[in-house]
């Protein structure tokens, strides 16, 4: 994945480039230093530092009391996290693959999301669930899904889909300090993506999309790693004389509707790109928000580009067909100008 020009610019200013994995680890370490109530629980999070090695080293600093290896019990550790959150702690529950969230879905959907409301505001659940999304790792149907649409559907939950190391750190610190349950989706393919990240702690408020690149002819709205797909598509489009504005959604819930609608009003065209299944997915919500909000300004239908509506196949040539690519984005954009 290539680093966008805007980010390169920021880099020169901030002076420090780290990977997304490092940004996440730094966010956790800084919050754990700041607030003794924060702890991490999950499968192989301690000595192993997770299979993705993202947490490596944390157990050395914070001990096995605050970086806790759990049994392989996704419902159980999520439930435990909820109870701990309700009683004064700030748990970060690690669910290794986003594909395993459905195991914990009763706890997430029926408990975490509803406790605050059902109690009339008396109880709260300051819980973070860190998990992953993204395909093309040749991990097949049960380890490649991007299931963030499901949790974005549920009132009471917040959902973050960081696209850059800068996002990752700022959104994760915000998630930990937030008094609500937050599902934090990290793209497995992006842990080694590098970008500028300030050393001191900072927060990115939820519900604020980032305009990664300004443009005038079409708006490309993207989540997580699809932001890079959109940026690469924008480059290809520029060669064809089409100026694309690229928006990084950052949080699907809350969704920054204003920024999306305003951009589409300006450019008069929009394409929404996401790595979750297309049907009833994130692209549907965002496309319908834009189509409604910018209706009188649009020169073409809002288009959607999600993952193919198939279980993710193992075979590499098949798997590569299922995800949006810059070329596919370009083709869709072109179709908007040919009508």
């Amino acid at each position: 994945m290539s680093m966008p020009d805007t980010m390169l610019r920021e880099t020169q200013e901030s002076g420090r480039i780290i990977t997304m994995g490092e940004a996440i680890r730094e966010a956790l370490a800084q919050e754990m230093r700041r607030d003794s109530r924060v702890f991490i629980i999950g499968e192989d999070v301690a000595e192993a530092g997770t299979p993705f090695k993202v947490l490596q080293g944390l157990v050395d600093e914070f001990g096995t009391d605050r970086v806790i290896d759990s049994p392989i019990s996704e419902p159980g550790i999520t439930g435990l996290g909820i109870g701990a959150a309700m009683t004064g702690l700030r748990p970060v529950v690690d669910i290794m693959f986003g594909d395993f969230l459905p195991l914990a879905s009763d706890q997430i959907i029926n408990q975490a999301a509803k406790v605050h409301y059902m109690s009339g505001g008396k109880l709260k659940v300051p819980l973070v669930i860190r998990t992953t999304l993204g395909a093309t790792r040749r991990s097949a149907a049960q380890h490649s899904q991007s299931l963030h649409a499901i949790y974005s559907h549920i009132p009471g939950l917040k959902v973050a889909v960081p696209a850059t190391p800068y996002d990752a750190k700022g959104l994760l610190i915000q998630a930990i300090r937030d008094d609500n349950p937050v599902i934090f989706f990290e793209d497995k393919m992006m842990y080694t993506v590098k970008g500028p990240v300030p050393e001191e702690p900072y927060v990115i408020p939820f519900g604020q999309a980032a305009i990664m690149q300004e443009g005038t002819d079409v708006t490309l709205v993207a989540t997580s790693s699809m932001v890079y797909v959109a940026l690469d598509a924008a480059k290809l489009l520029a060669d064809q004389g089409i100026s694309a504005e690229v928006i990084n959604v950052r949080t699907t819930s809350p969704l920054d509707r204003d920024t999306l609608i305003r951009s589409a009003m300006k450019t008069t065209r929009a394409v929404v790109i996401d790595e979750g299944y297309q049907q009833y997915g994130v692209t549907a919500e965002i496309a319908s928000v834009i189509a409604e909000g910018a209706f009188y300004y649009l020169d073409a239908p809002v288009k959607r580009l999600g993952a193919m509506d198939v279980p993710v196949p193992f075979s590499p040539p098949l798997e590569d067909l299922t995800v949006p690519t810059p070329e596919r984005v370009v083709r869709v954009v072109q179709s908007l100008f040919n009508q």
Partner: protein, 324 residues
């Protein structure tokens, strides 16, 4: 332990709380029959000794989690009758501002973390609260109430494993009232209930859930173990619900006999048994207990009146508290 060490004040209070639960539930049934209460409710009548026995062994700082059949737990933890009725009627003054209702009453002030309409749904929450208490070194203990039907839910085993591993201060209180809704529990429960927690390294006590003293004693032992850092205990309380699964479950003969119901009511009533015991032990006389009955009657009537007269929440409340 036993009634002697308990102290006569506490013993009489346990009687009062059991009577409060019983009369509360009678009113709930009335509110349902007279179509004043929205929705349904699952009555606790017959099971009072479990909630009262366990909660009497807790401090107000200790936590409980409760179930769809949760009025008894809530009252035993010290809740206000007025605010409970108000909640059941969906009123603004209710414990949850009317948003929770019978199946979701929580009482933050007394560390009741809430009833739960998902069978087994609070097992995780309770275990997490115990984890939190241990980590915060607060000395708090958690009582996690659930019916024997929750033994069907896998999460219970997942969290018992963790509670045992990490010696969490928690009491798993299984209220075995013999039925999962309309199905006798033996038809859907293999092997031995008592051996299940044991397999996870959790000590078990098998209790007569109609005997408040026995429950209280066992709960006290379990609380002491928990506070001493010795980990969880599983209390299996054999009990019975007098009413239907919920207030609308009137014709029950297809799943249990009238004789069985009658037998429990006449021979095994926890309030009657405790009353007899109190009198026999010279701790209270009939007059005192009658007075308590009347006081409770008043309290409950007052609660119902309060709730009936309380306002519904303002329409704007529908959109508050989605997020903190």
């Amino acid at each position: 332990m036993g009634i002697e060490q308990l102290g006569s004040g506490a013993a009489v209070e346990m009687y009062r709380t059991m009577v409060t639960i019983r009369k509360f539930e009678e009113q709930v049934n009335q509110l349902y029959l007279s179509a004043i209460m929205p929705g349904l409710a699952h009555l606790y009548s017959g099971e009072e000794a479990v909630a009262v026995g366990v909660c009497s062994a807790l401090t107000s700082e200790d936590y409980i989690t409760s179930t769809h059949r949760g009025h008894g737990h809530c009252l035993a933890k010290g809740a206000d009758v007025r605010l409970m009725f108000a909640e059941l009627l969906g009123k603004a003054d209710g414990y949850c501002g009317g948003k929770g209702g019978s199946m979701h009453i929580a009482d933050q002030e007394r560390n009741n973390l809430g009833a739960n309409a998902i069978v087994g749904g609070s097992a995780g929450i309770a275990t997490g609260a115990a984890f939190s208490a241990k980590k915060r070194q607060s000395g708090q203990v958690v009582a996690c109430f659930f019916g024997e039907g929750a033994l069907g839910q896998g999460i219970l085993y997942e969290v018992m494993n963790m509670a045992s591993l990490w010696k969490l201060p928690i009491l798993y209180v299984c209220e075995n009232n013999l039925y999962n809704e309309y199905t006798p529990y033996q038809e859907v429960t293999a092997g031995s209930i008592l051996k299940r927690p044991e397999a996870f390294g959790i000590p078990v006590e098998d209790l007569d859930g109609q005997n408040v003293e026995e429950v209280y004693d066992a709960a006290s032992r379990a609380v002491a173990r928990a506070r001493a850092g010795e980990g969880p205990t599983f209390l299996h309380c054999r009990t019975y619900r007098y009413q239907g699964h919920h207030v609308g479950d009137i014709n029950r003969t297809y799943y249990r006999s009238r004789e069985e119901e009658q037998l429990w009511r006449t021979e095994r009533d926890p309030i009657q048994l405790w009353r007899t015991r109190l009198v026999a032990a010279g701790i209270a006389d009939e007059a005192l207990l009658d007075r308590i009955d009347r006081e409770v009657e008043e309290l409950v009537k007052d609660g119902v009146e309060f709730a009936k007269n309380a306002p519904y929440p303002d329409e704007s409340e529908v959109a508050t508290h989605v997020y903190a």
